[in-house]
Symmetry: D2
Subunit: 383 residues, 4 copies
């Protein structure tokens, strides 16, 4: 694996490396780790990269790697730059025959995402979009439970993603780099909070329920004076097949950490999952006691292979965010290995977020922003 962005002080780059390292199947072999050559060089050395594979730009990286023999060059590249700088390296990667891992949101605009999809379709290469939360085993179990029909037809979906870390004007007052680019429309895109975390919530809702959003009624807020993008919002949702729901996202919910939570209600029962205690999935029933499913358990085969194949430890040994992230990488890598070996990847491995999810993420942002600007109650979800 190669990496673009993710130099020494970048939070998300380090997370990607831990996730990729975790299972001992992926090795970081090269990188263009910063747009600042000194940082790129220093970061590369800290990561024990060979001197000649520490690149100063991604142009250099693609050129050099593409010229290596197939068994020496990187198999894929991970792009962990700010949003505005996703598209160009991703296209270049695909054009040079490299598979791609990319942070969400996939691009800066929907149009770019669509171009990327066209290129993916054309090249047949793999693209992993790191919607981390769908890598949790109990999220996968939730999806399978809905799919099985055990809860009956889905009626309601409540999803919320609540953080407090932008409760103050951190982007200016504290010189917080992560806050700065995320709240800057030139780097982040047309939405702040909804783009950064609302898209995760929307993805989770569609992923678990298997239903797509068809209409929405959004209201965005800039709560902290002086901020340039929304830091809070709520959306009423209509889904396929008549389900309805709400999506709440906030980055100014003082005191909250990273409270992503989803509840899905069917005719016969419901499920509830919260990211901050991710190893537990609660099922509630009309006529039976609530049940608690736990990652790492199996219950004599009751849990699906989608859950069990994404656990590394037995029940009661908690796995967390990094393992969920690792699951994305592992499934991507297993799929890639199978492909390289000319074998059929398992369905469980293929279950990672792709360029299609990236397009829906960009469309979600567009539709939410459009609805927020409209006096009409409901906006049709369009792509």
């Amino acid at each position: 694996m190669g990496m673009i962005g993710g130099g020494k002080d970048a939070f998300i780059g380090a997370i990607h490396r831990i996730a990729a390292n975790m299972d001992g199947q992926i090795e970081l072999v090269c990188g263009a780790l910063s747009m600042h050559p000194e940082i790129a060089q220093e970061s590369g050395r800290l990561l024990f990269l060979p001197e000649d594979r520490i690149y100063n730009t991604y142009d250099e990286l693609f050129k050099a790697e593409a010229q290596k023999p197939a068994d020496e060059r990187m198999d894929f590249v991970t792009i962990v730059t700010p949003n505005f700088a996703h598209f160009a390296p991703a296209m270049q990667a695909l054009e040079n025959g490299f598979n791609v891992v990319i942070e969400k949101p996939i691009t800066f605009t929907l149009e770019e995402a669509q171009q990327l999809k066209a290129k993916v379709d054309e090249t047949g290469l793999l693209l992993l979009l790191t919607h981390t939360y769908s890598g949790y085993p109990m999220v996968k179990e939730a999806k399978q439970i809905i799919k099985s029909g055990k809860l009956g037809k889905v009626r309601k979906i409540y999803v919320e993603y609540i953080q407090g870390w932008l409760s103050r004007l951190s982007e200016r007052e504290e010189g917080n780099a992560g806050a700065a680019w995320r709240t800057d429309p030139k780097k982040s895109g047309k939405s702040g909070c909804m783009g950064d975390i609302g898209t995760h919530a929307a993805h989770l809702a569609e992923y678990i329920s298997g239903l797509k959003i068809t209409e929405l009624n959004a209201s965005l807020n800039i709560v902290v004076d002086g901020r340039m993008l929304d830091d809070d919002g709520a959306v009423l949702l209509r889904f396929e097949e008549g389900a309805t729901g709400t999506l709440i996202a906030s980055q100014v919910a003082a005191g909250e950490e990273n409270a992503l939570k989803i509840r899905v209600y069917g005719e016969e029962g419901s499920l509830e999952w919260a990211q901050m205690e991710p190893n537990t999935l609660t099922l509630k029933w009309i006529d039976k006691p609530a049940e608690t499913l736990r990652a790492g358990s199996n219950y004599a085969g009751r849990l699906s292979t989608y859950a069990t194949s994404n656990c590394r430890t037995p029940g009661g040994h908690p796995e967390g965010y990094l393992e969920a992230f690792g699951n994305l990488y592992r499934n991507f890598a297993l799929t890639l290995s199978a492909k390289i070996a000319g074998e059929e990847p398992k369905a469980e491995w293929l279950d990672f977020p792709s360029v299609e999810d990236g397009i829906r993420g960009m469309a979600f942002i567009n539709n939410v922003v459009a609805s927020n600007g409209s006096n009409e109650k409901w906006t049709k979800y369009t792509i």
Copy 2:
């Protein structure tokens, strides 16, 4: 105390009697407990009422009680009939000089509520509206914390009230009387779920935050085929002073019991309270660890007298719904006793829901139904 409605088999009547009984300061002395004379008589006997104070109609009750000397007649009357039958007995009570306790929603229409308020103002009598949830000590503490400014200016309010008991068409299939009248527009009013439980949620939000709703954007659903009133809905809210929020209410959330929960976010921190574990109030802060306040504790005087005076047991001996209900009655009775004795009631006693809250409840229903019927995103909250 006298009682209108609440004959044997009526759920809420029994609850009112337990709540009133609890502290040994209120005695049930008479009743017109059912519109069916035999049930009225039988119910009265089961409650050890004297034969001559078991009435068959509330007309009889008011006539007979009003003629008794002041120290013999009932001090107040509790009305626990279905919604459509609140107004007439309440008016008659006030006209006959009796204080009134009344189940929410206060009346069938906003106009009736306003007439009731006029009569209350004219007579100077007391009216208690049983928004039970504001009787919990930690709800009272929450209100005082917001009022104190410790959390800073309020920015966000999330309130939700989720039940599952109407997940099936219970009003027809199972001969469930409570379900039947609650889903019948002729008995319940123009809203089902929002009238029955949405009003509780709205009251709680306004009570704790001290802010009134100014605009709303509502969407109601009839989820179960064949039902005549909304059984589900969501409302985006705007409050005074720039706060925003969401209100979710559902009676078709399969597997949920009575999940009323509120979160209020200020500039410096937030609070969270959930009715199903009512003795706990959680405070979260930007720069400090979260704190857990517990009913029955005092923390060397840190809890307000509004909380401590509404507890009966020390910390760790859980109080529940009936005690919260009992607090409404106790505060009402203490205020009434003070008034009778010509003394000034304490501020803590006066802190019970009144006819003004009833008017806001009716207006909430009206505004939600209006917004639901409108294509415009936002509807101004009017009374």
Copy 3:
């Protein structure tokens, strides 16, 4: 009902009155509420007792009440004096033909408890010992589950009762009357913490499991300097049929409220109940997901009538300590009414703690104190 002790500032007397009042079936009609005549008189007036039934001593009370006609005199008397003053009035009550409710521990010594049992057997009168915690519906459900064999043979019982209110030398420093008599061997008996709360824990373990303690290995501590009785201790337990367990009790666990909790493990699964969230009973299984049973629910008949008949509200409307206490009184009163009416009481009503439980409580204290004083590891539990 009459009451001995429980004058105006006594905590537990007020609790008994709320519990007895709750269901409108029991009325306080007389009392000897304090050993100080002025307090007895004042307390009686505050409780609206008729002047001629406010007694200054329990001798007076029994003499006067016994002379009244059967339909006027009290049906039973509640004794809520400190431990050392339980026996004499209880004997006198029984000798005068009155049924008895008594706070635990039943007496000051085991011998007194045995005499009381002999008198109960002789007179055929009823005695209720207020081990409150066995009045919770989910405790009753737990007992029925064990009895049903669903968990298989019981192997392990862990019970703990942890409080922090005696973390300081409150009996002297703060003039705390409750602390003072509880830590005084002349008023409380030969054990402090184990007598006050250890007995509750032991009762709960035996009640739920249906197994009696046969051997124990105890270690008691006086943690706070200057205290005269144990304020902390732990006991290893052996039960009938080969089960083993531990009992932990402490009143110096700083920061704890009233943390009574029990876990019972069988061959196939286990149950867990904690008093501070009493409406929930958790079942865990070897091969199935854990289940959460909730008071007020029924699950299409799955909960036993022992649980359902001890609930007043539907699921999600929490009941608490006072309702559990009320259940003891209600079941006692229903049994008494049936007896008076010459009818057979239901098994559910008879399920209240009796004089036999009182004897085991006193024996538990004796055995724990004996074991604590012995160098031998195991002490046979003797009565």
Copy 4:
């Protein structure tokens, strides 16, 4: 790093590799992964080891690695064989100049552990004993809080470690290899449950409190018929400075996963930590509301550097068991790197379990088994 044991189906070997891999600072370079040559070879290939560094025995491994130049040979070796096979390779490693990572319990007997300590002292090499649970950031925070004196003098320690996975005779009925050797005295040692998990609990109690056990009163049980070693037990504990406590361990607690939990009570407050939700540390106080500390947070510098330096993600992105394990490896590796570089390691890095902890673990087993076999209540803890 090299590895002895941990072939392809061994659970704990895989865990060690994930933990070591996690931060990209440690690379597996060689191994003698199984006593069966074919498995050793196959396992090595699956892990991408160079052919010439896949050894069939640890003798071969040490001989070959020791002959390599310093910058090529492995820096340390990890021993993950069953208990009885720890000592010999560990001694050989030290004698050949290799640092050692070793699974607990450190050896088969106390005597071996003492010999190992002598060799560690003699060689000055590093030894890491993987008491994983002390690698959790909130466990480290707990230790620092106690050390700071904020809770006052420690009075009580309750520690419990409860599992259910040996509720059936799995060692025979299901051909479970892990169950088989753990319950075989020839492979596991003189204690089963207490050796396997009781030692973790004892280590955690001593680590957090900073107090050593001085006396104990133990009772062990073989609950499942046919088992050869204890599968359950409880120990009353006395610690230095007058603190007392209890330790409960069970592997037959049907339905439990891996429930390690500790509570420590001081004069002013207490702390509580549970491994199954490891990112939370609860503090309770006599006169203040309980506080919840969360891993990944900092609270404006309130958390110690021992906690913060052992987190990889911000608050609300849960870390788990593998990260705790990774912390042991990371601190060990950082200490080793510092040593190699001739620098002083930070105190935070040095905070990993060592040979001294291994000796206490073996002594704990000895003392518990001795106490269990004695009729005397208390056994002095001796080494």
